[in-house]
Each structure stands twice: as C-alpha cells, then as structure tokens.
C-alpha cells in the first residue's frame, strides 16, 4: 500500500479517533489517504489553531493530540503550539509535509527546514528518509509523546516518500535504546521522604501539572488526607486536588493566595510533586522558602535541582510513587497533633487575607465577579479554558476546579491565542462535558478565525470575552512598574464581537448588567452551538495579590 495509507493504519493502531489539520501542496498524498481512512479530521482555519486544538484535546482527555500541516508556512505556523506543548508537557504528534527529496535544500517552493526550526522545541523529531521508516517512526513518536514526561514529537515527511508503495507490516516493537524513562521511584528515597514528612512541623505539598499528566490526583488526595497536609497547586496543577477543600490553600506563585505563598515561605518541608520551580512560583530565588527542606518528585530527572536544590530527590511517575509514599508515611506513625500550630498559622492567613476585590456598588461588572458568575452559572461542572493575561489569573483564582483536566490553559509559554482552539479541541475530546472559554478582547483576536471551525463542525464552545478594551496585564505592569506610561495597550472598541459572532454563524450576546449576569450566562450556556458573549467589565482593574517580579513571597502586594 502507499506509505500514506500506512500512516492511517498506524494512527488507527494508536487509537487515534480525531485529528486536526490543514492541507497544502506537500501533504496532498496524506490528505488523499484521509478520504477513505475513516478517521475524523477537523479542518481548522489556521495551522496554529490546529496545533492548539490538538493540545486542548490532549489536555482534556489525556490522549495524544494529533495535528497535520503542510510544508513551509504550514510547518512554521505550528511552531508556537509545539513550543507551548513542550513547555507544558503536552503529548502531541505533529505531521508536517515536506518538499520532495530532490528539492530538499534548494529553497524549493514552500520549503522550510522544519526539522531544524523545531529541534529545540520538540521532545523528539523524525525526518523521514525512506518510506519504509514511516510506520515505525509513527509508533515511536506516539510512545515518546505520551510516556515519561510527555511532550510534542514531530514527523517531517517529504511528499514523494509518502506516495511510495511500501510493504506495510504492523510494527510490533520499538527501537529506542536511548529512551527508558524511569517510572518507578526508589524505595529508600520514598521511605526517607516519608520520614521527613512525619518529622516536619510545617509541611506543604506543592503540586504541579505533572500530577495531572500522571493521572495521580486520587493518589495525591490520598496522601494529603492521610494526615492534614496542606496542599497548594501551580497554575498547571489546578484540579489535581479538589477545590474547595479544607486542606486547599489555593494556587501559589505570582498571583497565588497569600495563604499558599506564606505557607511556602514558612514551611520546614516542601514536597514538590510534578512541579518545576518556575520563576513565577519562586519569585526571588535566593529568598524562596528559606526555611524549607525539599523533597522533589518528578519523572524528569533534569528538573530535579535545576532551580532549587532538592534534599530528597525521587525520580519517577507520581502515580507509582504517591501510594508508596502514603503507605510509608502511615507506617511512620506521625503524630497529627504536631500540625496543629501550623494549621492555626495558616487559618490566620486565610482569615486575614482571603482572595478579595472591591466589588462595584452599581451595575458595573468587575472582572473577578465575571469569573465568579460563570462558576455559579455552570456550577463548576464544565471544562474551562482560558487564554493568557489578567482573565487567566482571575479564572485561576476564582473558579474552583474539583477535577483534573478541567482547566485548560497555556502556562509555561503564556500563548495568547491559545484559548479558542484549545477549548475547541477539549470540546471535541469530551463532547459530554460542557466547554467554556474565558478569554480577553486581546487574546481572542489572535485565533478568532477558529470560530468558523466551531460553527462548521458544530463544536459548541461557550466563549466569554472579558472585554476591558485593554491588553490588561501589560497595562497593569505599565501602571505599576513603568510610571503609568501606557504604551500600545489600548485595544479601542473594535471589532464588534456580537457582529463577528454573527458573521461566523455563531450566536453573539453582549452583557453589561451585573444583576442579571449569572442568569444571562446560563442562557448563553443553554444556547446550542458556539456562543460568543461579549462581557463588558471594569476597564482598569488590577490582578492581586501579586509578588512583584524579583521580590520574595512574603512581600506580596495588593
């Protein structure tokens, strides 16, 4: 059969039910194979949308997301999603077309060095040199993408090679001698960690997206409630521990709660699980958690002691390690009473510094209230995607995530334009769960074309635009750190998002009234098909609390 038909067979063997993509000259053979393959292909309106949709699909379902793009501009258009997936450890396989082999290196039409361009932003990549390599490359790509620390894998396929006839045999083995991720944690280290935890008087569990990737939320919860261990999550970890919960401190980091950040500051033992001590978490590194010893559990050994030296490193999969840590911790017979003073201290911070904002007394919609209203309108029972900026932080603060894989956002790379396509991918992956998107008037315009994909394919994403007419987060930084010299942050008043929705065949609404906001949002959610809701909020509102850049956690402001 043709190599491209073998591609389809391999996708089916990997259990792929849907892919996102965009055809072009160099992947015409692949698209010909789609005609009879019986695999659902969602035609996006821009390859970047396809890449982010595959990310949203992967984040919501835990399965590998798949994106197809052509050579040259098609491939360069997925550079951002690939980088995003790399930063947030999203399992993704990208297939790019390439010019035919005799044109390689000649600056042929729509030729780009995709393999070279994407090398620093993928977990691995394959440049196909012979058609018979294709099936094995695909299976290896899926294996690499989903195992260990997940990430994006790219397969670049010259068009002539994909048309070639090959003798396709299902691939039974993988040949990856240099790739054997450690999943099983070292028992001695686990026992050591359990003892340290049992002896600690001010412990904190600091949980990142790795716990969600490992599917270890239940195991984490088991550990946390085996005693009264306080839990905080990173932006990527939200949902790994059910919020609200008495042991839940809220998110930590730059816009985290005071309780979480102060607890990190005063902790004597921090157990980091699938988290990577990003600068948005640590603030000033030299003053980060100065009293703490660190247990660091991560499947990627390179993360351990990268930013903060770990006293007890444990390399492995959280799902393997956490139950064993819980068992050892129980066996250590810790005295729960020792945490009493610690909880009193934490309760003090909670009472003194809850997440709060000054609500409007008239009809004006405060952006924080908009998130609270959506939480109320949905009962929290939805997938919530976000874009990047103030609305993202407020969503993380005021929407409570009770389950993993319900919060879809771009953390590491902070990609504006991620939201709509990612929400679309999530909705395709989980058709039985309502999918909402909170985005900004800036972010939505970076991939608004995907509205057409939503309407054409009946993908019923409910889009709530937090419209303040500003690039809010940049404006906030200009206000706070650049003497209020606003430079190119005013987005003006166009487009008319209701008309835009209409043009794309979606339902458009504009909400300006606080009193009926929850009810109006419910109506939007109940409206079939994609809905665009333009919510007009306070123009100049700042995201607080905040650890100023380069400052320490205990110096939070706002």
């Amino acid at each position: 059969m043709r190599a491209v038909d073998a591609v389809m067979e391999c996708l089916k063997a990997e259990g792929v039910d849907v892919v996102f993509g965009y055809p072009g000259g160099a992947n015409l053979p692949t698209y010909d194979a789609f005609v009879d393959a019986g695999i659902r292909h969602v035609l996006v309106r821009h390859e970047a949308g396809g890449g982010h949709a595959a990310e949203g699909y992967a984040k919501a379902s835990g399965r590998v997301g798949v994106v197809f793009a052509t050579s040259g501009p098609g491939a360069t258009n997925i550079v951002t999603p690939l980088t995003d997936a790399m930063m947030d450890s999203v399992p993704l396989v990208a297939f790019t077309g390439q010019v035919r082999t005799d044109l390689l290196g000649t600056d042929g039409f729509q030729e780009a060095d995709t393999f070279g361009i994407t090398m620093p932003i993928v977990k691995h990549s394959f440049m196909i040199q012979h058609p018979t390599e294709i099936p094995r490359a695909i299976h290896e790509a899926f294996h690499i993408a989903r195992s260990g620390r997940p990430g994006p894998v790219l397969i670049d396929m010259p068009t002539d090679l994909t048309r070639a006839e090959i003798d396709y045999q299902p691939v039974g083995d993988l040949r990856l001698p240099g790739y054997q991720p450690t999943t099983e944690g070292n028992q001695k280290q686990i026992r050591l960690a359990a003892k340290a935890l049992a002896n600690s008087r001010r412990p904190v569990l600091y949980v990142g997206g790795g716990v969600i990737n490992a599917g270890a939320s239940a195991e984490l919860t088991e550990l946390a409630i085996s005693d009264r261990l306080p839990v905080t999550c990173t932006l990527m970890g939200l949902g790994a521990f059910a919020a609200p919960h008495p042991q839940w401190l809220g998110m930590l980091g730059m816009h985290g709660t005071r309780a979480a950040n102060y607890a990190m500051d005063e902790a004597d033992l921090i157990v980091a699980i699938g988290a990577r001590f990003d600068d948005r978490i640590t603030g000033k590194l030299s003053e980060f958690a100065p009293r703490a010893k660190f247990v660091h559990i991560d499947v990627d050994p390179a993360e351990i002691s990268k930013n903060v030296p770990a006293h007890i490193p444990i390399v492995g999969d959280a799902r393997n390690i956490l139950p064993r840590l819980t068992a050892e911790y129980r066996a250590a017979g810790a005295d729960p009473e020792r945490l009493k003073a610690w909880w009193e201290r934490i309760e003090g911070w909670r009472t003194q510094h809850p997440l709060t904002y000054e609500d409007s007394s008239d009809t004006e919609i405060k952006p924080q209230y908009m998130v609270q209203a959506l939480y109320e309108a949905t009962g929290g029972d939805c997938i919530l995607a976000s874009d990047v900026g103030q609305h993202q932080m407020w969503s993380a603060q005021y929407f409570h995530f009770a389950k993993p894989r319900r919060w879809i956002n771009s953390g590491g790379l902070g990609t504006m334009g991620f939201g709509l396509p990612a929400a679309m991918g999530a909705a395709v992956a989980m058709p039985d769960v309502p999918t909402c998107l909170i985005t900004g008037d800036g972010s939505i315009q970076m991939n608004a074309q995907e509205l057409a994909t939503c309407t054409e394919n009946g993908i019923p994403v409910k889009i709530f635009i937090m419209n303040n007419g500003y690039l809010g987060m940049v404006r906030q930084w200009q206000e706070l750190f650049w003497d209020r010299r606003y430079s190119h942050v005013d987005m003006g008043s166009w487009p008319d998002f209701v008309k835009l929705a209409d043009a794309y065949g979606a339902t458009g609404m504009r909400l300006t009234e606080k009193k009926t906001l929850v009810e109006d949002m419910r109506k939007a959610i109940e409206t079939p098909g994609p809905v665009v809701v333009d919510v007009r909020v306070t123009r100049e509102e700042n995201t607080y609390p905040m650890i100023a850049p380069g400052a320490a956690a205990r110096d939070m402001v706002g």
């Binding site: 620093p120 691995h124 990549s125 240099g178 930084w477 850049p549 380069g550 400052a551």
Partner: protein
C-alpha cells in the same frame, strides 16, 4: 514579560550564588549516540540553548556501526555538570553518557602546528619537537609543520614552547578519551 525589578548589573559573587553545583575542574564527557542524522545538531543546539560552553568536541565512529562517540570537554567551574548530563540524557538519540574520571581515563588529542623556523631557530624547534615526541611532517624554507599527540595539557605546553618562534597556524582535534581497562593489566 521583562522584569523591570531585575538589576542590570550583577556582581560575580551574585552570579556564583545563583548557580548550581560546580566542580571547578575540567570534565570529559564521553557520549554514545545513535548514528542518525541531526544528532550532533541536537547536542550542539542543547548546549547553545542552555548556555553551556563546549571547550572541545570530537566525533567519530565506534566499534558498533550503529553508534558514534562524541567526546567533549567542558569547564566544571562554568557549568553545573550534573545539569549538563541530565539535559543530554533527555535527548532520545543519546544512549550513554560517562563523565570520565581523570585518573581512570586515557585521553589524547592530535594537533598540527605551523611554526616559522628559519636559520638558527630551526635546530631549537626540532629539539623541542623531540622532547615532546612530536613529528615534523612538512618543511619549507621558512616554516615547519609539526604533529603532536598527547593530552590536552601536553598540547598546551607544546604550544607555549613554540609560540615564541612564531606560530603561523594551529589546528587541534579536541580530546578523545576512553576509560582504562579494569584489572586487565
């Protein structure tokens, strides 16, 4: 977003305080990689991206045609070697990395020197070549080309000796190294 709170100038002490564990000595990493296209680019790219400086780099085949050996040296005073090896291990095509113990390693480098040596200087140059067990492989009226093999330190020492005569050109391969056999001698 740039951090306006960040100082523009950092003192050396601050830089040192912020870094990982540094050994302060030269390290020789022997890296076995799959003999596949792009592997060297991946390694070079990784070093550039993470800000690691390679002192020398040598690539060649091994006894197994499917594998190549990359020998690279880098300064442990500049880089946390632990981070370097862990990041290298993440590359799928990297099969094995050994941070060779100096006492347990045989390392050699080959260097070619073109030294101006006319008249009276020539005899002196030849003497130095002999002491270093080098070879003169080409002679013209004005200069000689010398081949020297040895450890990195020996090559450095030879260079210091001949430089005063007028070093016209120099080419070095970078060190290659393997660990000593155990209990076989």
């Amino acid at each position: 977003m740039g951090d306006p709170g960040t100082k523009e100038l950092l003192t050396l002490a601050e830089l040192e305080a912020s870094s990982g564990v540094r050994t302060g000595r030269k390290h020789t990493l022997s890296i076995m990689v799959e003999n596949k296209p792009g592997v060297l680019t991946r390694i070079a790219g990784l070093f550039a991206r993470r800000g690691f400086n390679i002192d020398t780099l040598a690539v060649g085949p091994t006894d197994d045609p499917r594998l190549s050996r990359i020998t690279l040296t880098l300064d442990g005073a500049m880089h946390p070697i632990d981070q370097v090896t862990k990041q290298l291990h993440k590359l799928i095509n990297v099969i094995k990395i050994r941070d060779l113990e100096p006492a347990d390693t045989v390392a050699r480098e080959l260097a070619l020197f073109k030294v101006s040596a006319d008249g009276g200087a020539r005899g002196e140059v030849m003497q130095i070549v002999e002491i270093f067990r080098g070879k003169i492989i080409d002679v013209t009226k004005r200069s000689v080309i010398i081949e020297v093999t040895g450890t990195w330190e020996k090559i450095e020492a030879f260079e210091r000796m001949v430089r005063p005569f007028g070093l016209v050109e120099m080419a070095r391969t970078g060190e290659i190294a393997i660990s000593r056999g155990r209990g076989e001698t």
